[in-house]
Amino acid sequence: MTTATADWREQIFDTLKAHDIRQVYYVPDAGHATLIEACQNANSMRAIVLTTEEEAMAGTLGAWLGGEKSVTLMQSSGVGNCINMLGLAKTLRYPMLMLITMRGDFGEMNPWQNSMGQATPKVLEATGCIVFSVERPEDVQPTVNAAANMAFEGNQAVAVLLRQKLIGAKSFGKKMR
């Protein structure tokens, strides 16, 4: 159930449930922590922890071969681990829905995140993904819903980037100026 007052994280969970997502592949990110926990506790979903993000593209293919829908939750740095496997969606034409929390984006305090963060949308587009970007809480649910529709109705890789303007930059204990 999605309500106007619900947190955008809860809205993502409700949207995934409404699309009958059964397998949730993830490498944790703080921005996804609430969602991961909700998926772990959902009877209709299996939360699958990965050692590296590219496992998700292969797992997603297996799930689809067996008739189940899946989603991948990861951080932008994880996209860099996936490049060869992202191409599988174009080759086999199967749905690949990815919700990506951004680092190296608006106001990042850790410079080691910046290069992959800035390359993330380009890498996704280069491998044939449709990329949506969300900066405002009210846009999260409609965008995830639209992305899921395009992925599962179109046998298409679709990524939603949850920007740092939405999730906030990690402060590392430093007072933000």
Partner: protein, 204 residues
């Protein structure tokens, strides 16, 4: 110890008289030719790419189709690229998944360079790390992991791969062979995916 098992004979035994509920994923390279030589069928997914992903495709499929048997047949090169997936499998404990690695200790598609499973003691261009994939799988949490080296073990290997409660992992030491590809599988990924889904799920 020199391997004596022929990979094609092992795969033929693994896939003998397949029923429709046997779903087979083959890692790219020789394993894709091996399963096709044993008999191309819609319930086979012969991979032409996606190196390192065979086990994870098997996991996603096994979780989606718990009533069917999922058999991943792949090589040591593909397995080494996706070692972490063994831990991911162990965390999910799919009872219907078997992973069989045909370990010839070589990257066979690229000029037979030694992989990490080759012995430490061999010559400079043959030297590996002696990596024991069975120990890796066991260490990742797949309790039922074993190595197969003898012809007399093949019948039990095939029985376990097809019927034993999983997840099971078998590392089969096979000879280095250059084999003719008399039958090639279809190459179109979308076609392979669609025919597989139609066979498993019925008409879309």
């Amino acid at each position: 110890m020199t391997a004596t098992l022929h990979r094609r004979a092992v795969v033929k035994a693994l896939m003998k008289d397949p029923t429709d509920d046997l779903l087979v994923i083959a890692g790219l390279g020789q394993c894709t030719w091996d399963i096709t030589e044993a008999g191309d069928r819609p319930q086979n997914l012969p991979l032409w790419g996606g190196m390192g992903g065979a086990v994870m495709i098997g996991l996603g499929l096994a979780l989606a189709q718990p009533q069917k048997r999922v058999l991943v047949i792949t090589g040591d090169g593909d397995m080494l690229m996706g070692l972490g997936s063994l831990a991911t499998v162990a965390a999910q404990r799919p009872v219907n998944l078997a992973v069989v690695v045909l370990d010839n200790e070589k990257f066979g598609e690229t000029g037979n360079q030694a992989t990490h499973t080759a012995p430490v003691s061999a010559g400079p261009s043959e030297r590996g790390a002696g990596t024991d994939l069975t120990a890796v799988a066991h260490g990742c949490g797949i309790a039922d992991s074993a190595t197969v080296t003898q012809d007399s073990e093949i019948a039990a290997l095939a029985r376990d791969a097809r019927t034993k409660a999983g997840p099971i992992f078998r590392n089969v030491k096979v000879m280095i062979e250059t084999l003719p590809n008399t039958v090639m599988p279809p190459k179109d990924g979308a076609y392979l995916k669609d025919r597989f889904r139609q066979a498993v799920l019925g008409a879309a």
